[in-house]
């Protein structure tokens, strides 16, 4: 293992991608036990939100809440106490389109709900309201490098505060005409509950450091398309390593020429 201060125990994983509705499904495909079958992402209704908010929740909010809650449940953690790091390449694309369309029309009186849902930290705000967590909440964007940015800040918080941090990296699609300019195909994301102390639930230890190496790709062409087309899924080579249960090193795509190398030691 390298000597980087950015290290943690992974205590829980949440996952959602087209054709892969949760972490157990993704794990089976990444282990080669199941063939990947492409299908639109299935977004669970956010049970945590009150009924009115649940009905109105956007696709990006549903994605973030679903993977966050899956990781929390996997770790047996209490969401009300957790610090969070949200990382997303964009906000709610459908809401953004509706606002821009209206602001280009003769009637610019946009809806106040649309406006407060337009902020990049909308999913984080709903997570806070739903879980009641008053712990620090980070919301990052580094476009295609957003997963790496989230991992860097989440691990730094674990290293310094010595408390668990829930990293939630997620993306959603834009409708046309923005889709032609930004072609993220569907919703997807990953949540990792990272802890400074090892518990009986720990899945693996990871240690992350910068490198100028080339990021790993996935042999399966369909999974490789997911990795490159949904920014949060740059995590997939790390998840494949975790799914395999084998120790080793994997290079993740961040912000060329700086990439992130993760040393993984399964428990």
């Amino acid at each position: 293992m390298n000597a980087s201060p950015l290290n943690a125990w992974i205590e829980g994983i949440g996952f959602l991608a087209p054709g892969l509705p949760d972490w157990p499904a993704a794990r089976a495909v990444l282990r080669g036990e199941q063939a990947y079958a492409a299908a639109p992402s299935v977004l669970p209704a956010p049970a945590l939100l009150p009924p009115a908010e649940r009905r109105r929740a956007s696709r990006v909010v549903k994605t973030a809440l679903a993977i966050g809650l899956e990781a929390v449940a996997h770790a047996g953690a209490d969401a009300a106490t957790l610090a969070t790091v949200f990382a997303a390449s964009g906000a709610d694309g459908h809401n953004c389109h509706a606002l821009c369309e209206q602001l280009a029309s003769d009637d610019r009186q946009i809806s106040p709900t649309r406006f407060h849902n337009s902020v990049h930290n909308a999913a984080a705000g709903y997570w806070g309201i739903a879980t009641g967590s008053m712990a620090p909440c980070q919301v990052l964007c580094a476009c295609d490098a957003s997963f790496g940015a989230g991992l860097l800040d989440a691990l730094a918080q674990v290293a310094l505060a010595r408390t668990p941090v829930l990293l939630i990296a997620y993306d959603s699609e834009y409708p046309e005409p923005l889709h032609a300019k930004r072609d993220t195909p569907d919703c997807g994301g990953v949540a990792l509950l990272l802890s400074a102390a090892r518990s009986e639930r720990a899945l693996a230890a990871i240690r992350v450091s910068p490198t100028a190496d080339v990021a790993a790709q996935l042999a399966d062409p369909e999974l490789e398309v997911l990795r490159t087309s949904i920014p949060a899924l740059r995590v997939l080579p790390l998840l494949k390593r975790l799914a395999s249960g084998e120790r080793g090193r994997v290079c993740l795509d961040y912000l060329a020429p700086m990439q992130l190398v993760a040393d993984v030691e399964p428990c």
Binding site: L6, C141, A156
Partner: protein, 396 residues
Amino acid sequence: MTPLLLSAFTATSCLGRGLDATRHALRSSRSGLAPCAFETVKLDTWVGEVAGVDDEKLPAALADYDCRNNRLTRMGLETDGFGDRVREAIARHGKTRVGVFLGTSTAGILQTELAYRRRDPATGALPDDFNYRTTHNSFSLTEFTRAYFGLEGMAMTISTACSSSAKVFAAAARQIELGMIDAAIVGGVDTLCLTTLYGFASLQLTSPQPCRPYDAARDGISIGEGAGFALLERVAGAAPGSVLLLGAGESSDAYHMSSPHPQGLGAKLAMEAALKSAGLAPDDIDYINLHGTATPANDAAEGTAVAALFGGRAPCSSTKGATGHTLGAAGAIEAVICALALTDGLLPGSPGTATPDPAIPVQYLLESRSSRVRRVLSNSFGFGGSNCSLVFGVAA
């Protein structure tokens, strides 16, 4: 936390370009707000617009990044010699060892708003010259800044609405503390756009007159734009009187998307965490730069939290009556105002505020005055209940 040196800092807002324009306006309690004449906006409100932004030219190699927000980013970076201090730091530390951490709420979304007026009438397509990644995306200003200085290391945008560019100080400080980087460009840039002007109007949060923070008759915000930057490095060898980041505290309201917790519980948690991070007690603080947006709810909630923690002992003011609320740039601009408070011995007043709200028991400064200032606290709170407080001081 281990204190960090602000080895350079600069601010550009409606008060003017750079530190001298800012300090002269603050000292004379001048406001830069004016009736809104931005673009085609027809709203009965005042704004803090920066003069000359659209005259700024980006380097030819970075022409893809051209939009109002990146023009203001470049303008801010090349003010007060800040860009030269950055280039010197890169020469000292190396291009992989200087990180970029910038805050914004809307980045270059104005570019998208304008592109939606030029859609192909037959297909609905956006014009060919519109570039999403380099203008609209929240990372555009950070990617531009990284490319502008030829950096090859860590970079991220923080976008937590109006606390964004306070939280960049905390995120950069973590990476320096852990030795991942040796220096960081931190800051925030937000520019006027239709989304925020019509959006805050839709929430009935904009005032028809210049905003009046903490006034008994306050009735909403005045939206501003601006760019604030600081260069963070380790303290070793800092000259006496240099400005230091001493502490940072972050919290969440977990209450509502667009209203603060009525008792300011999240705000209080952030201030307590910042003081703890700095190893200081409330009585150590000589001045508080309040978030003070001038909405009835924000100032009441923040004031309740400040009164609970500091009583009436710490002089405090919001400078948004001078600059307007620069949203994702507010944390950085107000950090620079705090730095000027420390270097100049200046307690800024509150242009626009006439009668401090008697229901908020804090020591509110109406007029600017000179004072010995050794340690200050700056508050930044945002939509979604995102709170950040920073503590600054001077090197002994």
